[in-house]
Amino acid sequence: MIRFETVEKWYGQHQVLAGVTGEVKRGEVVTLIGSSGSGKSTLIRTVTRLENVQGGKVLFEGVDVAGRSVDINRLRQRIGFVFQAFNLFPHLTAAGNITLGLERLRKMRKAAARERAMTELHRVGLADKADMLPSRLSGGQRQRVAIARALAMDPDVMLFDEPTSALDPEMVGEVLRVMKTLAQNGMTMVVVTHEIGFAREVADTVWFLDKGQIVESGPPAGVLDNAGDGRLRSFLSRTC
């Protein structure tokens, strides 16, 4: 569904993506791990053109996302994106954050949008917080609303950019649980994360990035347990 073909990107003189090639199949859960600066966040952001690439191609369902004929806004409606900093709209309630896209883009009527929003909030366990402003919610709750907001658009794939990195430890669990359920229901997911436990349990494939390249990839048990020598081993010993 998503294909990276020798993707390259520079920030000025610094090369942040150095020829990344890989594929995410429908229904697959791929986790990207690696140290900061390895390019994992940048890579995931190229899929919806939050970052542009200078070399190689990023393909969504066979179409180059940077193509001239691509309607980027429609593309983004089909790809759900969850940010590290949640990025909820502070002037709208939890439900409001969700209905905004439904009413304005899907042209749903208020009642239908509200109903859908409530369904999604229920799915993430926050139906009772529907009419609260984000400022009254905890970090974990905000991130769950963000996930609900992305899910409400019926995306074909969900992208997560370090979804739990900004959370206090006790709230990480509630978000990971939601993500796990999503995976079990067959959603295609690409997750950039430091949560090795999540990768082990939920991912179908793990990509280890270092200096802008995929250095190791494969099923979690294989990659994580047989880390061998080298960069992956030292990364794992630092994070676990």
Partner: protein, 232 residues
């Protein structure tokens, strides 16, 4: 002292009329200048956001001029200086159509616009770029992202400073007296020179100014409380 406080003396007949005319003129000045200032302020802000560097410099120059030259001097330049360099026909037209009022409004409005565009710009800037990214990630285009996500937040941030600007504008209308506009301060001096009841005359004017100022301040405090979102 043998001085009897006699407000009634200044609040009767012709003098009362002068006060009322003064207040009306002050309000008219404030409204007209406010409209002019907001319009130009918004236009300047939009111009600044265009990706053309020299435009930013032009606007910055406009803002710096109006912030570093005293408002009174700006008024004097407009009233004494500008008509001299305009073609004769326009000068005649201005003189026969309440010239001093017009020029005072222009001076006050343009000065306000400078401050307004600065307030607007910093309001928009204070919205983190990530809000725009999140809006685009849902699939909104530029205009939709601005209208549904960025601008609503920017307005909340910008309204308290704008109310403060309105207060300043209201107080600054008093400077128009220097070029003969019959606003409240001018009229107060008129009443004073006819009745010699300086204290009473100025007391009345003070009460009027304070009432309106406090009203604007109260609106500002109210807006501040209501609009304060923890934009975290």
């Amino acid at each position: 002292m043998g001085y009897v406080f006699d407000p009634a003396a200044v609040l009767t007949g012709q003098y009362l009329e002068w006060f009322i005319w003064g207040l009306a003129t002050t309000i008219a000045l404030t409204l007209a200048a406010w409209l002019l200032g907001m319009t130009i302020g918004i236009v300047l802000t939009l111009v600044r956001m265009l990706p053309f560097r020299p435009l930013e410099w032009l606007v910055a120059g406009y803002v710096e001029y109006h912030r570093n030259v005293p408002l009174l001097v700006q008024i004097l330049v407009w009233y004494f200086g500008v008509p001299e360099i305009l073609p004769r026909a326009i000068r005649v037209w201005i003189n026969s159509h309440h010239g001093e009022f017009l020029l005072a409004v222009i001076a006050l409005g343009l000065a306000s616009a400078a401050y307004i565009t600065e307030d607007l710009r910093s309001g928009i800037r204070s919205i983190p770029k990530t809000q725009y990214e999140a809006a685009r990630s849902i699939g909104f285009n530029y205009l939709q992202a601005m209208s549904y996500v960025i601008l609503p937040q920017a307005l909340r941030i910008v309204i308290p400073p704008l109310i403060n600007q309105t207060l300043l504008l209201f107080k600054n209308t008093s400077l128009a007296m220097a070029i003969g506009v019959g606003e409240l301060t001018y009229r107060t001096r008129e009443v004073d020179s006819y009745t010699f009841k300086t204290f009473e005359a100025f007391a009345v004017a003070t009460i009027i100014y304070l009432t309106i100022s406090f009203a604007i301040m109260a609106i500002g405090a109210f807006a501040d409380r209501r609009l304060k979102l923890e934009l975290r």
